[in-house]
Amino acid sequence: MIKLIHHYFRGRWREYYVKSHWHLVLDLSLTIVIIFLIAISMGLYFFRPIFPNFSIYNSPVVNLNNPPLVLDFFVDQTVISQEISVPLRISFKNNGTVSVNSVLINLNLHDDNFVLTKINLASSSVAVKLDGQELILDKVAGGEEGKIDLQVYFSIKNSSKRTIDWQAQSQYNFNRQLFKATKTLPTLKIAAKLNVTSGAYYTSPQGDQLGIGPVSPIVGIPTNYWIFWEVNSPSDFKDLIFGSRLPQGVELEAGRSLLSGEFSYNSSTRQLIWKVPEIKGEAGIYRLGFEVRIIPNLHQLGQVVPLLDASRYRAVDELTGKTVSGELSSLTSDLEADSFNSGQGKVINQ
């Protein structure tokens, strides 16, 4: 190396410096400028000035396995209603001394069958900005902790799929590092919807005469109606019990159509019970039809005759194990469900 330098300068001596010493002066000056500039650059590189209120430089050490901001997600309710929204709580704590800014939290669903439609902010101890499915925490100061309560809404494409697997992803920059984390959230199960109807008919929706006797009902003349209980769901249920009571003056006739389950009538209590051990989601409508008879008396002249008291039902959702129950309103000779005869329930005289 020295030989090389020596050889280089001896060459320049013979070529330039011998001819004019100004060449030598120029080379020396340039060399000194270069060395000076290098020295300044190195000085600037290693310079760490301390300014008040300029704390980024206060936490120069970060443990990547234990980031300063800790986020936890809580879902208390894993069985959710058919309206499909769930309360989600996010708790946060900045274990560091330096603020963490612009924390981005994103909720992701695993199944295309579900779509996260919106997030509503219920409450928050920090400033939160919602941008579609994203949640942005502007700043979490060093040592700060708190919680954010959200209501998360989903929509569903195929209601027969009822489990939602989802994740929360968070990311923020800290000390020039991008911190990303993914947490799997508790699986949500959507409570199945059980569609239950009870209706009285004289004429079927396609115009077939089912009942018999006069409509409007006439004093002293029997009129028979058909009552249908229908249950269906895209999901599986078990142990359906559907019950009601015949009002006084209404008699159960022989006409029946029972496609599944068992039907019983206790003439002492006037209680009607329909039990179906299994309801398969893909099986369509489960239906019971039975015929009832009234013979209006003079006291009922001008009145609508009750046909069936309020009905109650319950069944167990196979997936969630939850019992679904409900009550249906009573039925009368006004036949609300019967588009052909609705409103013709008042008893008239012959």
Partner: protein, 670 residues
């Protein structure tokens, strides 16, 4: 040898007179047409063949002989009677066209046979006719015959001998004659007899005429009279016509009077009893009047006739009620207003038949009647739609002098499979709803199970198959006798089921796997033993196979008909009973993959079974009807055509008309 030859000749000569005894149909209504035109057109003959009894003018024998043959060909059981007046003839008959038999009849009359008054004038009862004297008091002709001999001879030789007729219809069979005129000289002595004497001589002579007729035509040749019923004649007659019912001349002129006469006639007449109740009305569409007569007639055993009036009996009016097969009678008439009394009086009269009931309001008031736990169907007609509207009823409002024919309801499908609890609509081959739909449900079998109820010859269900969750339970008289497991114990899906039935016994039971199973058909014999199996379609298909079985062509050869479940083209196949493919055809477009439900039955009453299909899923509820050769002969939508849930099909003669109705079933009735 000569004797034998003579006997043979006599037999040949008398053969037409030794006519076969007529057999009356034992189902109701019984219909008669009093059709007195002298000629019958071809179209009239076709229409007239629908009646059970025809009274045709004797001139038809000469003028329209071929039409009589045609009528008999169309209706071999029809009874055709020759009309002849018993006591009169048209004046100047020789000037009439096509009056061959009357002219022939007239040519044999002698002057002494006219009925005259004390002044010697011919007596007339009807315009342009003159009466003949039926008493024994007239002179004989050169053959030694009086008129009351001449007439029976004419009937025997000119009418009965032709073999065209089943009997003779004597018009104006009166038990008296004095009511026509008060100075009748019945014994031709120039003096008028008293009414009592005249009537008595008339009766004696008339009885002679009837007895002679009976003697000459033989016991099987029917003799019917028309006129006021006189008991003294009835033992010679098979029946009477009660014209203009209730006629003013009959038993007081009331409904009760005429009915009393009508109902007692069978006990007075000789067998077979053929009495006719005739009502006439110039208004063809006076349905109430027509019904009143029909339902009154149905209270007894007679035949009913409804036409224009006494001057024109010659109509082929046909009514909705005539199409009904009420079947055999199951009761006599009883009065609903008087504790089911059978004593005739104005009331609400009912009579029960195997397939229906008739009710007559013979009072002068509108009557309302509530049936106690009984449901009946009104006829679904095209004429009086207010009355025959097809409604299911449990009470009735009947106008005075009106009647109604009602169906008994049957909600049980016999001899073909149905799905327990399904709602079925009832269609004829034209796609018209024959009666109200119904839920076919037997509570003792599982809901949605396939059921076959086998009926015996009396129409009673005596054996049943119930297929559910891969098993078939076989019942005899409501007692389970065995369980068949055609596809193994692990197979718990639905089954398609069909059976060949004879008099309540399962001769063959065939099954097909339901959806999710392969298209395998299993055939069991009458001992419920598996005979064999075969795949009707490519065996890897998993849509199942629907099956039907029966004699398609009426040739005694049993066929198995199959249709695929969802997932393949709608190819219907016909196999021999041994499982050999004989023919196939597409029930719907080749691109339709929703599966096909099938059934077979005789929908048009031609003795051959048609194949009827309905989409199993994903298609409109279009029923298609094919001949056994696969030719499309009809189609219609059985429910809202936008419905896509599939339709189950089966067949049953719900209304006992000899044709099977098409039943289109839905799991959910809307």
């Amino acid at each position: 040898m000569k004797k034998l030859f003579v006997v043979i000749l006599i037999n040949i000569f008398l053969w037409p007179l030794v006519s076969q005894a007529v057999v009356l149909k034992n189902s109701y209504p019984r219909l008669a047409n009093y059709f007195l035109k002298w000629e019958i057109s071809d179209s009239e003959a076709t229409k007239l063949a629908k009646w059970d009894v025809l009274v045709l003018d004797m001139e038809v024998q000469e003028n329209s002989r071929d039409q009589i043959s045609k009528i008999r060909k169309l209706n071999p059981r029809i009874i055709i009677l020759a009309y002849i007046t018993s006591q009169e003839i048209i004046n100047d008959i020789d000037y009439y066209n096509k009056a061959y038999l009357r002219q022939d009849f007239s040519s044999g009359l002698i002057d002494a046979w006219w009925l005259r008054d004390a002044l010697g004038n011919k007596i007339s009862n009807w315009p342009e006719t003159s009466m003949l004297n039926l008493s024994n008091e007239t002179q004989a002709n050169n053959l030694g015959q009086r008129f009351n001999d001449y007439l029976p001879n004419f009937v025997a030789k000119k009418l009965a001998s032709t073999g065209l007729w089943d009997g003779v219809f004597y018009d104006n069979v009166w038990g008296d004659v004095s009511w026509i005129k008060n100075n009748i000289d019945i014994n031709n002595d120039g003096y008028a007899e008293s009414a009592a004497v005249a009537d008595n001589l008339w009766i004696i002579g008339y009885q002679h005429m009837l007895a002679e007729t009976k003697k000459l035509v033989g016991p099987n040749f029917i003799i019917i009279g028309n006129g006021k019923v006189y008991n003294g004649y009835q033992s010679f007659l098979n029946g009477m016509m009660l014209e203009a019912f209730p006629s003013p001349w009959e038993n007081g002129g009331t409904w009760t009077g005429s009915m009393t006469t009508y109902l007692k006639l069978p006990s007075l007449n000789v067998d077979p009893n053929i009495s006719v109740v005739n009502i006439y009305d110039k208004n063809q569409a006076n349905y109430r009047h027509m019904r009143y007569g029909l339902t009154s007639t149905l209270l007894g055993e007679g035949f009913y006739s409804y036409d224009y009036d006494v001057t024109s009996h010659g109509q082929t009016w046909w009514y909705d009620e005539y199409n009904i097969n009420l079947g055999m009678s199951q009761s006599g008439p009883y009065n609903l207003l008087n504790n089911a009394s059978t004593n005739l009086q104005p009331g609400l009269w009912r009579r029960d038949f195997k397939n229906g009931v008739v009710i007559v309001n013979s009072t002068n008031k509108k009557q309302t009647y509530i049936f106690a736990h009984e449901e009946l169907d009104k006829i679904k007609g095209s004429q009086d739609k207010l009355i025959n509207n097809g409604q299911k009823i449990n009470y009735l409002i009947l106008e005075p002098q009106d009647g109604i024919v009602l169906w008994k309801r049957s909600d049980l499908v016999l001899n073909n499979p149905f799905i327990n609890g399904y709602f079925y609509r009832v269609y004829n081959i034209s796609g018209q709803q024959e009666r109200n739909g119904f839920f076919s449900y037997i509570g003792s079998y599982p809901g949605a199970a396939q059921i076959v109820a086998a009926a015996n010859s009396q129409g009673e269900a005596v054996a049943t198959l119930s297929a559910n969750e891969g098993r078939i339970d076989v019942y005899k008289n409501n007692k389970k006798i065995t369980t068949l497991v055609p596809y193994g114990y692990l197979y718990k899906k639905s089954l398609s089921l069909a059976a060949l039935i004879h008099d309540g016994y399962f001769q063959k039971i065939i099954t097909g796997a339901g959806q999710g199973g392969g298209p395998q058909v299993s055939v069991y014999n009458k001992e419920n033993k598996l005979e064999y199996r075969f795949f009707a379609y490519e065996k890897n298909l998993r849509g199942g196979v629907n099956v039907a079985i029966g004699d398609l062509n009426g040739d005694g050869q049993i066929k198995i008909v199959t249709a695929p479940g969802p997932g393949s083209e709608p190819l219907i196949k016909v196999f021999s009973l041994s499982g050999k493919l004989e023919s196939s055809f597409l029930a719907y477009g080749a691109n339709f993959y929703g599966g096909v439900n099938i059934s077979i039955g005789d929908v048009n009453g031609d003795g051959r079974k048609e194949i009827v299909s309905g989409p199993a899923s994903n298609g409109g509820p279009q029923i298609r009807i094919f001949s056994s050769a696969g030719k499309l002969i009809g189609s219609f939508f059985s429910y809202d055509k936008n419905f896509r849930g599939g339709v189950s099909v089966t067949m049953s003669d719900i209304n006992n008309d000899g044709r099977e109705e098409i039943l289109a079933g839905l799991k959910n009735f809307y």
